[in-house]
Amino acid sequence: MEGFGFSVLKERHINYDANDKSIAEYIAEREPSFRTCIECGCCSATCTTGAFTNFSLRELQILLKRGENEIAREQISKCMLCGKCILVCPRGVNTRNVILLAREAFRKLMKNEV
């Protein structure tokens, strides 16, 4: 059969039940403040890395929580751990530890480096 010139598209839905949320669980277990993020975006607004790239800790946190790990995995190594986000977070999220734990979780659970 020759090509139709189009194909079935991949769904954009976050398939919550099928997604692997083990990374987020790994982080939340060790750093409960991870759960308290209200996605205000303060961290991303002040982010040293975010000034140069599309790195967004806010987005990264929510994607991990929804099990959309791929984007987070690509992004997570960009953080320079400078710590500005910790100082501005209104919720007291220990953001640096979130990053470190996320890197650790990818390494341990996904068996690959970030």
């Binding site: 059969m1 139709f4 010139g5 189009f6 194909s7 079935v8 598209l9 769904e11």
Partner: protein, 353 residues
């Protein structure tokens, strides 16, 4: 699922359906692709029930596809619709019966527009008068053809030769009802049973002995989407929506998809072929695809008409598996013969054949 809950909702969305004296407007797609449907409708109302149903040869397309594809402006389509009303007025009818769900959506949308923006109605009167010298009245009732069949579903059941049950097991057939989006999603009050849980097809299926399936993506679009299928590059989007719908209904093992919209009938039928070609996926049982019929075709089957007279062979997905389940006798040799017995060229790539 609580059926009382649904019945309560249906009770809230009961529309006035005229009893007689219909002014009929055809559907572009249906008369071309499933000609048996409209044929049966006119036959059933006129010949079987003895109703007064009239269609005017000067009636044109509603231009709905052009409108939804952004090539026909609103004022133009309003004038086209106004012309139909003028034809109706000339013929002395007040109840319009619309064969196409896209058109039905256009009629209801324009009706509501004129209601909320009377100046648009006045402008339209002026345009129509300037263009054609005609004048028009608003209809007393607007019904879709499926509304009419719904109204007379019990009359059909009374005359039924077959019930929608598997004649071998005695189990009711599992039937997916798919309602065209423009039937009631825009204006729930114009649909039998409203928008969330419409009952127009479900009522027929139940009256004729079948089992209605409620599956998660019941509300989802068939994938038609004017702009999507018109442009080849966008057709993947149309196809994906169909895929989503069929994947969702598959676990319920449907024997049939019943639709009330020409676009849905066409796309749910033809995209099944495309998906099978592209990805090798079929959604029915035993490696077969699911037949997609219109309510008139189904009514005809139930009443014992010859499936080939109803035009079932013009679908991409062939209905033989359904016919076998229903215990309907048919002659495969007649399938592609003209009325006077000449053999037509045989189409290729038919599914389920």
């Amino acid at each position: 699922m609580k059926s009382e809950g649904k019945k309560r909702i249906w009770a809230e969305y009961q529309k006035e359906i005229a009893d007689d004296h219909y002014f009929y407007v055809r559907s572009c797609i249906r008369q071309s692709f499933f000609p048996g449907s409209e044929q049966f409708f006119l036959h059933f109302l006129g010949d079987v029930l003895g109703k007064d149903i009239y269609e005017n040869p000067s009636h044109t397309t509603c231009t709905g596809i052009g409108y939804h594809a952004d090539v026909v402006p609103l004022s133009t389509i309003m004038t086209v619709i106004a012309r139909h009303y003028a034809l109706m007025k000339d013929a002395g009818y007040r109840h319009i019966v619309i064969s196409c769900v896209t058109s039905f959506g256009i009629y209801t949308e324009i009706f509501e527009t004129w209601k909320h923006f009377p100046e648009e109605l006045e402008k339209t009167r002026e345009y129509l008068y300037k263009a054609t010298g005609r004048e028009f009245d608003l209809p007393e009732s607007m019904t879709h053809t499926s509304d009419i069949i719904y109204k007379f579903r019990n009359e059909i059941a009374d005359r039924a030769k077959y019930r929608l049950v598997n004649h071998e097991t005695g189990e009711p057939l599992n039937i997916v009802e798919h309602i065209g989006c423009h039937y009631s999603k825009m204006f729930p009050k114009y649909g039998v049973g409203g928008a969330e849980f419409p009952n127009v097809l479900g009522g027929m299926i139940e009256a004729w002995g079948g089992n209605v399936i409620d599956y998660p993506e019941r509300r989802h679009c068939c994938g038609f989407g004017f702009r999507q299928y018109l442009v080849q590059a966008n057709r993947g989007y149309s196809l994906s929506n169909t895929t989503k719908k069929f994947s969702s209904m598959k676990p319920y093992k449907p024997d049939l998809v019943l639709t009330n919209c020409p676009g849905c009938t066409m796309f749910m039928d033809k995209w099944q072929y495309t998906i099978r070609e592209m990805e090798g996926t079929v959604y029915g049982e035993n490696g077969e695809s699911i037949p997609v019929l219109t309510y008139e075709e189904l009514a005809g089957l139930v009443m014992g008409y010859n499936p080939w007279d109803l035009g079932l062979q013009y679908h991409m997905v062939q209905s033989e598996p359904l016919l076998r389940k229903l215990g309907i006798e048919y002659d495969p040799a007649d399938k592609f013969k003209t009325k006077d017995g000449r053999q037509m060229p045989l189409p290729q790539n038919l599914i389920n054949a």
